[in-house]
Amino acid sequence: MRALDTAATGMEAQQTNVDTISNNIANMNTSGYKRQRAEFQDLLYQNVRRVGSTSSDVGTVVPSGIQLGAGVETQAIYRVMEQGSLERTGNNLDLAINGKGFFQIEMPDGQTAYTRNGSFQLNQDGEIVTADGYTVQPGLVVPPEATDITINESGEVLANIDGQVEPVNVGQLELANFANEAGLEAIGKSLFLETQASGAPDVAVPNAPGFGGIQQGFVESSNVDMAQELTDMISAQRAYEMNSRVIQASDQMMQTATRLR
């Protein structure tokens, strides 16, 4: 009797569901976090009697055959790349992207990673780096005598020097866009890597058509909707419980059959 295995796949799937929801809730306050969503699909079907097969010599056709399903499997866990709300921090190196695009970060091994988390700092050389110390491409150095840093919506970094009226143009931040953002590979620390599924990055200046603008002094909160996650968790828990009852019932049925004398 396959009901036991089928219900076991159901419980496994709901376990994955709860794990995903739990990760979302844990990252509710992570800047630039994009929530994940688990999607399921049914497994193959066994045709005990095929649809449309003939049921007698005369050629009467069986209108719908007997198809027994084998359960459920996780189809995909994908990221919902919805824009999170912008939260004001007043920090002049906190940048939020309003629209599409990712900051480009240079990893220690030379690879380029992408992130939405714009809480940047200055390192000891005056370079703009992430909170982990990775350089924000293209590697901008703010002069040590700068009193103030202004970053406008198009990503231009301007530094005000004491005694000079005109601000110094330190450099230009660029954003990268992907055809399929959900195909990016997450490596933790709010960083994503390019994959074959995501497509090659398309780099441009912020506020170009199809790219978002940069807001200085803001961070992008996570796009986790607490009410949605709790509701999903409740339905996952109920489904888990029901699958366990199915296991209990089929187990008892098999016990009854075993006790036949």
Binding site: G10, Q41, D42, Q67, Y78, V80, D202, M242, M253
Partner: protein
């Protein structure tokens, strides 16, 4: 003399299949676009030799898929679509056209609209749907017309069938059939963007059916046990030789 046992066995076999069907429904409670199945049974009447009355065995006739509308759940994803009404999306698989209610679509790296398994979604001309690069605003209206930055790209290919019973389940939320798809009338079918159709499995109903099946199974096993005991007793009683 064994007719009772055979009738009871036919019932217990069908009950097991019914349990398998309920179990598959419950396992797929949270699967997008899943339609629950129901096992239909019928009696198979036989006139046993030497018997005076016909005996009815249990036979399972078919699994019927219940195409009732599932509830719509908002996801906020531009590429998620749900269908209201009797229609299916069309996807292209290596084995031919397949149909599905699950509208959780994505873009692949060629900017084509694909389902979660990577199968291309077809438009009403049976072509793949390509979204232009750099589209910021993607809208899908109630007729399934896709607008990228307010320019019409394609219309989703929706299919309807004269008899939904001929649809065969294939894994991955897909249905296969040899029947040609019919055009969908625009009155009662609507495409909703940003929403997904949940499965139409009602947990409480499936649980109560499961309890019914369980109890019926126990009753049938009781019949088998009693029948066996009757045969045992009759053999041992009738075969006793009375010493005169």
């Amino acid at each position: 003399m064994e007719t009772t046992s055979f009738v009871a066995m036919s019932s217990s076999e069908v009950l097991q299949r019914r349990m398998d069907t309920i179990s598959n429904n419950v396992a797929n409670m949270n699967t997008t676009g899943f339609n629950r199945q129901q096992l239909l049974t019928v009696q198979h009447t036989v006139q046993p030799e030497g018997g005076d009355r016909p005996v009815a065995f249990v036979n399972d006739l078919a699994t019927r898929t219940d195409f009732a509308q599932g509830s719509l759940e908002q996801t906020g994803n531009d590429l998620d679509v749900a269908l209201q009404g009797d229609a299916f999306f069309t996807v292209d698989s290596p084995a031919g056209e397949r149909y599905t209610r699950a509208g959780n679509f994505r873009l692949n790296d060629n900017n084509e609209l694909v389902n979660a398994d990577g199968l291309r979604v077809l438009d009403d001309q049976d072509n793949a749907i390509e979204i232009p690069d750099g589209t910021t605003n993607l809208e899908i209206d109630e007729n399934g017309t896709i607008l990228a930055d307010n320019e019409e790209v394609a219309t989703l290919g929706l299919a309807r069938f004269a008899d939904n019973r001929l649809l065969e389940h294939v894994s991955g939320g897909l249905y296969a059939t040899d029947e040609p798809p019919l055009d969908v009338g625009n009155d009662d079918v609507r495409v909703q963007q940003g929403m997904l159709e949940s499965s139409n499995v009602e947990g409480v109903r499936e649980m109560s059916r499961m309890i019914e099946v369980h109890r019926a199974y126990e009753r049938v096993q009781n019949v088998l046990t009693e029948d066996h005991r009757r045969m045992e007793e009759s053999i041992s009683t009738l075969a006793q030789v009375q010493r005169a």
